[in-house]
């Protein structure tokens, strides 16, 4: 028989406590986002609102690359969708536990799903602890850190001044390169990444705006899926 899945305050508090170690890494991205948002020309209100309601670091950073006048709203929303498609798989992986909760608890706490909170929650649940409120506690904690760090980065950007003078325009590229290293899964990753880079370079040269992100990302993903199927 399966153990019953619980959803308690103590489960949520455990999620909060286990997330404390990850606050520094979330704050790093949050500060980077705040700095780059300012560079990109977002107002403090816009940057803070985005961090408060979207709460998806990678997508927010990518969208800053698209932010220009006139604002390409459709491209921004589509790119957010593309970058966050990985959440579909993460949510699906939670099924053994979350399918046994009420819809309100399951779909309510899933709004706190992020890379870090999901990883912690999966670890906890597969260890045999059956309290699904862990995700909400962990996600809420990390979301608060994300919002506070955004504001701090934005205001810090005001002190730093012209970021190119300090090489800070490279923060965006450097952060993503460092994240990419963690996504390397051996030789299976090589061909998809070469295709993504090649298509992105061609599109960046020939197409206006930042469509190279969507097209390069799609081309690389399709390449990966085709190779995996062999």
């Amino acid at each position: 028989m399966q153990e019953p899945v619980t959803f308690t305050w103590s489960g949520a508090l455990l999620g909060v406590r286990r997330s404390l170690a990850l606050i520094l890494s979330v704050c790093t991205y949050g500060v980077a986002f705040g700095v780059i948002a300012r560079q990109t020309g977002l107002s403090l209100t816009e940057a803070t609102l985005m961090s408060a309601v979207v709460r998806a670091g990678a997508a927010q950073l990518v969208v800053l690359g698209l932010w220009s006048t006139p604002l390409p709203v459709v491209a921004i929303v589509l790119t957010t969708l593309l970058v966050n498609l990985r959440f579909l798989l993460m949510g699906a992986a939670l099924r053994p536990w979350f399918a046994r909760l009420s819809s309100l608890k399951a779909y309510g706490s899933l709004c706190f799903l992020g890379d870090e909170s999901w990883a912690l929650t999966m670890h906890e649940l597969t260890e045999g602890k059956q309290d699904a409120a862990f995700l909400a506690g962990s996600g809420l904690m990390l979301n608060i850190a994300w919002i506070v760090a955004t504001v701090a980065g934005y205001l810090l950007g005001a002190i730093i001044g012209n970021p190119e003078q300090w090489g800070l325009d490279f923060a965006f590229t450097a952060t993503f390169l460092a994240l990419l290293v963690g996504m390397w899964k051996g030789k299976a990753t090589l061909a998809p990444w070469i295709v993504a880079a090649a298509v992105a370079l061609v599109c960046a040269h020939w197409l206006p705006g930042k469509w190279y992100i969507l097209l390069g990302g799609l081309a690389g993903s399709v390449m990966g899926a085709l190779l995996d199927a062999k």
């Binding site: 520094l24 790093t28 990302g217």
Partner: protein
């Protein structure tokens, strides 16, 4: 705040929430084919590569060298913050040495 900025941010929030809840919802309806699952798995890495490729390969020697330094530090230390700081430092240094 411009109204289209508000629309963009709200749109981002809506599609993000759809991806957060969509996985659990879909998996209780249908199971994704292995090929679709493979495609989803490759998206984060491929999108990140597409984003950095122009900056790494077309901006200049300072940026390309800094990209290499960033990745080496990330590989050796697994420390994203340190890697970012080193990358910024290398770009800063090379731009000042070879303006």
């Amino acid at each position: 705040m411009q109204s289209n900025a508000l629309v963009a941010i709200v749109g981002m929030a809506v599609v993000t929430y759809l991806t957060q809840v969509g996985g659990l919802w879909l998996i209780s309806k249908v199971t994704p084919s292995p090929r679709v699952a493979a495609l989803l798995r490759h998206i984060p890495g491929a999108v990140l590569v597409a984003i950095v490729a122009p900056a790494v390969f077309t901006q200049g020697l300072a940026e390309a060298s800094a990209a290499l330094a960033t990745m080496l530090v990330a590989i050796r230390t697994k420390n994203v913050l340190l890697a970012m700081v080193v990358g910024i430092g290398v770009v800063w240094g090379l731009r000042h040495l070879f303006p």
